[in-house]
């Protein structure tokens, strides 16, 4: 019974963090930029959301504010990277570091509990006679569907096509008259907007914003992406690929719930996450290598026999 509850909790967490993973997918997979901003911008989303709610602002509007804050954090990294030609990794790390102080400034302290405050989930619980965790899952599902639909549409537009091509071959995009500084900047802004939106939702879900809530977020996002890719493959249609990221995020949380249930110390969680990503990224390489070697042995052996 206890496990069923924690499973539901894992699903609701996975869905809400899944939106962050979609943001990371946009920068990491589509733009081909490892954007380190996200550890900071996730907490920025939480921080802006928390103080907005404390100021009496509607919880949904608070999410909107958090998302706008995320746009700005992405813009900072984007400008450092494109206008000032900093390597993307360094630009992201600098912004992430700066955001740690900025997030503390926004919150005024390192931790803001929202236990007595309104949240989207509590508001809805007044109308919908379902356990809170189910309301979280439904809200998360709605947000995911909307975000996936918007991403799908955006990446199919003229500008979105150029954004996808930028991650693929910048040179080609510039040779076709498009400023790749712009496509990268917009991609980083959108990615971090989604990350901050996720930070705001998670804050409302767990009822607390913490300046450290984003630590390791980028690796959790990568874990979600690679789990989704391992299960659905890289060749899936684009809508399914986007959905697979949210599903990957849910599976990640279920894996975490299971190993915690089995007695893993929470302190070891980050190690586990890093291991999941490392394994998910190395296994396909090892499998490919094996296939190639066995193919070689098979074909060469046959060839030699033919000539014998």
């Amino acid at each position: 019974m206890g496990f069923l509850l924690s499973l539901q909790g894992a699903i609701s967490q996975g869905i809400l963090w899944g939106i962050m993973a979609l943001g990371i997918y946009l920068t990491f997979r589509i733009l081909d930029i490892a954007d380190m901003t996200v550890d900071g911008s996730f907490a920025t989303g939480g921080a802006v959301c928390a103080i907005s709610i404390l100021a009496g602002i509607n919880p949904i509007l608070s999410i909107v504010f958090a998302t706008i804050a995320g746009f700005i954090t992405g813009a900072i990294t984007g400008i450092l990277h494109t206008k000032f030609k900093m390597p993307a990794i360094l630009a992201g790390i600098l912004t992430q570091l700066a955001l740690y102080s900025i997030n503390l400034r926004i919150m005024g302290k390192s931790n803001i509990p929202l236990l007595q405050s309104r949240t989207v989930f509590k508001d809805l619980a007044q109308f919908i006679p379902l356990p809170t965790v189910w309301i979280q899952i439904i809200v998360g599902f709605l947000f995911s569907v909307i975000v996936i639909a918007v991403l799908y549409w955006f990446l199919g537009t003229e500008f979105g096509s150029c954004l996808r091509a930028t991650g693929n071959n910048e040179n080609m995009v510039r040779a076709n008259g498009v400023n790749t500084d712009n496509t990268k900047l917009i991609g980083l802004m959108l990615g971090n907007a989604l990350v901050a939106m996720s930070g705001a939702l998670v804050t409302q879900q767990q009822g607390v914003a913490d300046v450290k809530m984003g630590v390791g977020a980028i690796v959790i996002g990568l874990a979600s992406i690679v789990i989704g890719e391992v299960i659905f493959g890289k060749k899936a249609g684009f809508k399914l690929r986007l959905a697979s990221i949210v599903i990957g995020s849910i599976l990640y949380r279920i894996i975490v719930a299971v190993v915690l249930q089995m007695g893993l110390n929470t302190d070891d969680l980050k190690l586990l996450t890093a291991l999941i990503v490392a394994i998910a990224l190395t296994v396909p390489v090892i499998i490919d290598k094996r296939k190639q070697v066995s193919m070689y042995k098979k074909l060469t052996g046959k060839d030699l026999n033919d000539h014998a």
Partner: protein
Amino acid sequence: MIMLKLQKVTKSFNVGTVNEKCVLKQINLELNDGDFVTVIGGNGAGKSTMLNMIAGVYPMDSGIITLDGENVSLYPEYKRAQLIGRVFQDPMMGTAADMQIIENLAIAKRRGKKRTLHWGVTKGEKDEYYNAVKELGLGLEERLTSKVGLLSGGQRQALTLLMATLNKPKLLLLDEHTAALDPATSAKVLKLTQQIIEREHLTALMVTHNMKDAIDVGNRLIMMYDGHIIYDVRGEEKRNLTVADLLKKFEEASGEEFVNDRMLLG
């Protein structure tokens, strides 16, 4: 009418280091509308650098580049690309491998236009691309939704050529765009190049290491050596050139023997 004008274009690399090298030395060049100019010269003569200066890949040290009356000297690469079509030596460079053929074409079709939030590929475009790709004669028209990464180098070069000319550019820059292809494919892509340039009445600069191609193709030929244009010939005179003439010209101008195997054999 003059389409492209280079005035005293100069470029050095590694300025201020022991490796400082002046690669383009006060280059002057005028191309008339419709000129199809082949460019030859030994390794390191500055051919690619000249094309890169025109395309704005690196900033130039000094000089003025005018394209169709517009001074583009300080325009960034992407802005010049709105006026210039390019095909590179490396077949990987001109296309986005993970995107479909039709998506690549749609990006190229919108060269010089603002990228909006309208659909990246509209229904009506499909027929247009089908016909345009069919004219390449490679059978790619039935594979418009295939990823470009699945195409061979020659197919990718032909596609890049189509992309570079889909929306008529004021200038077409070809930097050894057939050099990475096998002889048969190379001949095919060169033929396509000629056809498209003729049909669209394009102004073009084509770098090649094949002297015979340089003589046979286009209406004008320039030879570069050590950052200078040392020979510029057109019309009747160009048509009557032989490879031997070109080698002699090179020796006269440079005082060296021509020792580039690639150029002799090409």
